[in-house]
């Protein structure tokens, strides 16, 4: 699976401070760490970029590109910042993201055409976030058709089904898996992505990685093309390289409803099984799901 490293994002206080103070070393260290970990793209999450969008974006893109030679994903709500960012990218960038909202189609989507980028297209519309497979399909087909009319082909589009935290709405994990499964049928040629860490938002901090990694295995089986994820989660990157097939096998068994002798498993394998059971919806989520 293609990994887009999420680690340079403005929500983190440390990163926000580093950007504000133009701390080249700190940003480059994080870019190099992600590159060394094996990511395929680096996401630069600038957020709303209200303060000084042009200067901030120019500095950040320049700083990262000096240190690593990877394609960048520019992630911001500001069309001004997006324009600057995309223009500066040495390699073909990923525009993260546009949605079915009128504002986004009008002000952001043309930038994908202008700079001939790849583009993340999410299922969001002005009506909000669709909550099941059918409504996700409806909204994404509409938005992608709009993008096609602008001259952006399916192959340049990465569909984002918008993953909600499992602790907020457990049913969404299942819905997204099913949506990814049928995506090639409804929109042949499109790629897919999503913000993997959003799944574990609200869960106990120490257990977030486990949720993210388990879900990544399940997404992989459904044909997911890429995830925006924590590059510094070593186990996640190792899993993605195929280094832990025994965990993958167990997770697939849970997905297939096969009975597993949990008691006979080592503790870490048991944790993956329990987590998979929550993500398939078999077990009701609670923060103590590993003790259930």
């Amino acid at each position: 699976m293609i990994i887009v490293g999420e680690n340079i994002h403005i929500i983190s206080k440390a990163i926000s401070r580093a950007i504000d103070s133009r701390d080249v070393k700190a940003i480059q260290a994080l870019a190099v760490a992600q590159s060394d970990a094996g990511v395929h793209y680096i996401d630069l999450n600038l957020g709303p970029a209200r303060k000084d969008p042009i200067a901030m974006t120019e500095w950040l893109v320049k700083t990262v590109q000096t240190a690593v030679d990877l394609p960048l994903s520019i992630d911001t709500l500001s069309p001004v910042a997006m324009d600057v960012g995309l223009k500066m990218c040495k390699r073909r960038p990923l525009l993260n993201s546009i949605s079915g909202k009128a504002d986004s189609k009008e002000h952001m989507l043309p930038l994908a055409k202008k700079y001939s980028t790849e583009v993340v297209v999410s299922v969001l519309t002005d009506k909000g976030c669709p909550m099941d497979v059918a409504s996700r399909s409806e909204s994404i087909m509409e938005t992608v058709a709009y993008a096609n009319r602008l001259g952006i082909p399916n192959e340049d589009i990465w569909v984002d089904p918008i993953l909600l935290p499992v602790s907020a709405d457990q049913s969404q994990a299942k819905e997204v898996l099913e949506f990814i499964r049928i995506l090639p049928d409804i929109l042949p040629g499109v790629k897919s992505t999503l913000g993997l860490s959003n799944l574990s938002n609200g869960a106990p901090a120490a257990l977030r990685g486990l949720l993210n990694r388990t879900y990544m295995m399940m997404l992989g089986r459904c044909g997911q093309y890429s995830v925006i994820a924590d590059a510094l989660d070593r186990q996640l990157m190792a899993l993605n390289r195929g280094e832990m097939p025994e965990y993958v096998k167990l997770v697939y068994q849970v997905m297939d409803g096969e009975s597993i002798d949990v008691a006979s498993l080592p503790a870490d394998a048991r944790d993956y099984v329990k987590t998979a059971k929550v993500l398939t919806g078999e077990k009701l989520y609670s923060h103590s799901w590993l003790e259930d």
């Binding site: 077990k283 009701l284 989520y285 609670s286 923060h287």
Partner: protein
């Protein structure tokens, strides 16, 4: 071609809990089918129960039609509780309102003595809801548990912040506990897991918080439904406990209940009927007329 109606045979069981002792016991739960699904293969051994509530101090802002059935006993919780039984209540629910620091801040020892007096005066089991303040509630219920040792009362609410302080004395002195979370099924399960680490699951009753018709009832409804389904269909051990709908206070504080007598009774009644359909095993009501209507509607004795 013969039509054969599909029949469900679920294998999850809601644990049966017994409240009270000796001649005055009440069983809740025990079902292996969804609420009122008498057409399915499972059994529903215990009908839903209705309690009437009693306050430990005369209420100040109740509509007169709610005071009216109890006006001669409203200052005497013992007599009030006895009248509730005469009105057909299967259990009495004593609300220790005055124990809250914001109300009278009644000391735990006084509150406990009142609970004992009420428990001994009625031929049905007693449910006790302590004050809203979690810290005060913990010390009050600990004292109540001790003073009423062996009576197997249903005491609560135990919440995330105080369940350890409450569960220990409740278990030690032989009572059952109400585990309460506010309209969140995941937090409800979390609390049950935590409580059941050192407390028997067959002495736990779930209170997912009951909102009144028009004021969030559908949230309570969906959660109660999901608790039942997760327990009976999917056999999740941490949702296989009976559910209590403590709905009287919420129903009667609505504008609608305060502006018209019949409307108020219907407000409480519709909230109760809906939540019983969703899976509440026991509903706490305030007006005896509501109790009569609900019993009649469901064919309860």
């Amino acid at each position: 071609m013969q039509y054969r109606a599909p029949v469900e045979a679920y294998t999850g069981t809601v644990r049966e809990i017994t409240l009270g002792t000796g001649a005055k016991t009440l069983k809740l739960g025990g079902e292996t089918a969804l609420p009122f699904h008498f057409f399915d293969q499972g059994s529903i051994p215990n009908a839903p129960r209705l309690a009437l509530e009693v306050w430990d101090m005369p209420p100040k802002d109740w509509a007169r039609w709610v005071v009216e059935p109890f006006q001669d006993v409203i200052s005497d919780p013992v007599k009030w509780a006895q009248k509730c039984v005469a009105c057909g209540a299967d259990a009495v629910c004593l609300q220790l309102v005055s124990a809250d620091p914001a109300a009278g801040d009644t000391p735990p020892e006084i509150a406990a003595q009142l609970v004992k007096a009420v428990a001994e005066a009625i031929p049905v089991p007693l449910i006790v809801y302590g004050p809203d303040d979690e810290k005060k509630n913990a010390v009050v219920l600990a004292k109540v548990a001790e003073v009423c040792r062996g009576q197997n009362l249903l005491l609560g609410p135990a919440v995330k912040e105080n369940y350890e302080a409450i569960a220990k004395p409740v278990l030690e002195h032989g009572h059952c506990v109400i585990a309460q979370t506010s309209l969140d099924i995941n937090l409800m399960k979390e609390l049950n897991i935590k409580i059941c680490k050192s407390f028997p699951p067959d002495r736990v009753v779930i209170d997912p918080v009951s909102s009144a018709l028009g004021y969030g009832m559908e949230y309570s409804f969906s959660i109660m439904e999901r608790i039942k389904q997760t327990g009976v269909i999917f056999k999740d051990g941490m949702t296989q406990m009976p559910i209590i709908a403590n709905l009287a206070g919420e129903s009667w504080k609505t504008k609608e209940a305060k502006e018209d007598r019949n409307q108020g009774i219907l407000w409480e009644g519709m909230t109760a009927v809906s939540l019983l359909l969703a899976g509440a095993n026991l509903a706490v009501l305030r007006h005896p007329e509501t109790l009569r209507y609900v019993k009649k509607l469901f064919g309860l004795k």
